[in-house]
């Protein structure tokens, strides 16, 4: 177990005028750890995710990332070129709506290969083989490599988005409601896939979800958010089986039993 956290989030707050997006959030994330941020609509979880992943500028606070060269960099002091490069190589971002994270008018193979081309890969055959390999890993038929995502189902698009993000071997993946909008059986398949990949690749992940079952299945740690604050956090099974805060108890008891 390594002693250096991969990500250090300190006192992140985001205000919209006097409205609180999120407030005073601090935590550390280690390599191989999956953190779930759970809460209902308006809890601030997506705002927090966007602040941490530098898609939004927070009002206060800092986010430090342990780069591959072993130094810590304050992400908001990086210049845009470095940040964009980081987002393309060492990080992944899986959007809730796969169309936001894919190029819909370009083939599946090109979608997966784009990041490779962006970092300088210039061998068509290798790029294509890597794309085929990844399509198979996310359980998309290799013979769909030249089809556009417009012709894919929602679950397939989501799996394609995951492949597109993982092809450069990122160490940290952000996911915003990755199973939102998918049918239950499709969700199960996707979750199993994500679980497997996270394990196999030793990824760290921060997953925003309102679905506690997703949190239980995928995450080691969990943060519960309400009205912009983190009201409870800890080991996932502890928070779900022995919730201490009133809101957490309410959330856990609200799950419908099938």
């Amino acid at each position: 177990m390594t002693d250096t956290p991969l990500l250090k989030v300190k006192d992140i707050s985001k205000f919209y005028g006097s409205r609180i997006g999120c407030r005073d959030v601090s935590f550390e994330l280690w390599p191989g750890e999956v953190l779930a941020i759970v809460g209902e609509s308006g809890s601030g979880k997506t705002t927090l995710l966007n602040c941490i992943s530098t898609r939004l500028l927070p009002t206060t606070g800092s986010v430090e990332y342990h780069m591959r060269d072993e130094t810590y960099r304050d992400l908001f002091r990086m210049n845009e070129a470095e940040r964009r490069f980081l987002m393309r190589t060492d990080w992944g971002f899986v959007h809730q709506n796969p169309a936001d994270g894919l190029r819909m008018t370009v083939s599946a193979g090109a979608n997966v290969g784009e990041r490779l081309m962006a970092i300088g890969n210039r061998h068509y055959g290798n790029i294509r083989n890597t794309a085929i390999d990844w399509l198979e890993r996310v359980e998309i038929d290799a013979d769909r490599i030249d089809d556009q995502p417009r012709a894919f189902s929602g679950g397939m698009r989501q799996r394609l988005q995951i492949a597109r993000n993982l092809v450069t071997g990122p160490r940290l993946v952000f996911m915003d409601e990755p199973t939102g909008g998918l049918d239950v059986s499709v969700q199960a398949r996707l979750l199993d896939l994500v679980r497997g990949l996270v394990n196999d690749l030793g990824l760290s992940a921060i997953i925003v979800t309102h679905d506690l079952a997703v949190a239980r299945l995928l995450s080691h740690r969990m943060m519960v958010m309400k009205d912009g604050y983190v009201i409870e956090h800890g080991l996932t099974d502890r928070v779900l089986d022995d919730p201490r805060e009133p809101y957490t108890q309410l959330l856990v008891s609200s799950i419908l039993q099938v």
């Binding site: 370009v106 090109a110 784009e114 081309m117 962006a118 970092i119 061998h123 068509y124 030249d146």
Partner: protein, 303 residues
């Protein structure tokens, strides 16, 4: 014929010329970078070469000799009109001979004759942004150029190969200039791309409607984008020019009759005439050929 109006030399006012020259200097200083400029209303509509005309107007002087070609030919309507325009507003000497020109304004072709250090090639450009059809947002493409993020360009070439088995782009083939900026060479055939590389002449590109100027200074590296296992290749013609017999030049197809008869002739009309003047003949004009005289372009027709 009385002139009702007199024009400032080369039509544009001096302040405009200054503004364009400044843009040109910037463009030369940053090869391949699209410099925005305040494109003026010209007496021809957008899409008819206003970018090229403004560049030429900004740099032309009384001692210059101007050649204008359109798809390689000096005698198409557009080439003739623009040439006439500059004769009228600048009273400069004009020519169809590539070697005699100091400024060559071109639409969509580079002359076959090698250019020298005393010449400037002015290109007419419709869409200056090579990434435009992949990424419609100007805000994004500017960032991509600024941050040298050109993965998307290779995505397009990848798609070509995936769909067609090879890179199917045959004109406006994207190039990397001086190892930094990716540039659209204007809709010249990819056949002409190698001519841009380490040219002795200055190459200027003007897009009037899009209001951009860019440049390739002399002796600059211009490399066509490709993949290691699908390297850049120029078009090959398996026949020589029917009129002058030239090989390894870009040919146009001319339909002769409605029985499917056709011939392939040099796209660069001046080059072809020059060769024929020096006695080269192609299969059609050869002593035993189907029509040794009376053809367009032959010495008789030229008189």
């Amino acid at each position: 014929m009385t002139e009702l109006a007199t024009y400032n030399f080369a039509y544009l006012d001096e302040q405009t010329k200054r503004m364009i020259r400044r843009a040109i200097l910037k463009a030369i200083a940053i090869p391949g970078y699209q410099v925005p400029f305040a494109s003026r209303e010209m007496p021809m509509p957008y899409g008819w070469g206003t970018g090229g005309v403004q560049l030429t107007a900004a740099i032309i002087g009384p001692q210059d000799v101007l050649k204008v070609i359109d798809q390689g030919a000096d005698d198409t309507t557009n080439a003739v009109s623009i040439r006439a325009f500059f004769q009228k507003v600048a009273n400069v000497a004009v020519t169809t001979r590539t070697e005699e020109a100091t400024i060559i304004q071109t639409r969509h072709r580079i002359p076959e004759t090698k250019l020298n250090a005393n010449q400037v090639l002015v290109y007419q450009v419709p869409t200056p942004e090579p990434l435009r059809y992949l990424e419609p947002r100007e805000t994004e493409t500017r960032k991509m150029h600024a941050l040298e993020e050109y993965g998307l360009m290779h995505v397009k070439l990848y798609e070509d190969i995936a769909r067609n088995g090879r890179i199917a782009t045959t004109y406006a083939y994207p190039v990397k200039v001086a190892g930094r900026y990716v540039m659209d060479p204007s809709p010249t055939p990819k056949f002409d791309n190698p001519k841009m590389h380490l040219s002795d002449a200055l190459q200027l590109f003007g897009a009037g409607r899009e209001k951009r100027i860019y440049a390739v200074p002399p002796y600059t590296e211009v490399v066509s984008l490709d993949f290691e296992d699908h390297p850049f290749e120029v078009q090959r013609f398996d026949k020589p020019c029917t009129l002058c017999g030239a090989e390894q030049v870009y040919l146009d197809e001319v339909i002769l009759d409605d029985k499917g008869g056709r011939m392939f002739v040099c796209s660069d009309t001046d080059f072809c005439e020059d060769r024929r003047a020096h006695g080269h003949v192609g299969p059609m004009l050869a002593p035993n050929g189907p029509a040794a005289d009376g053809l367009p372009g032959s010495k008789e027709a030229a008189e």
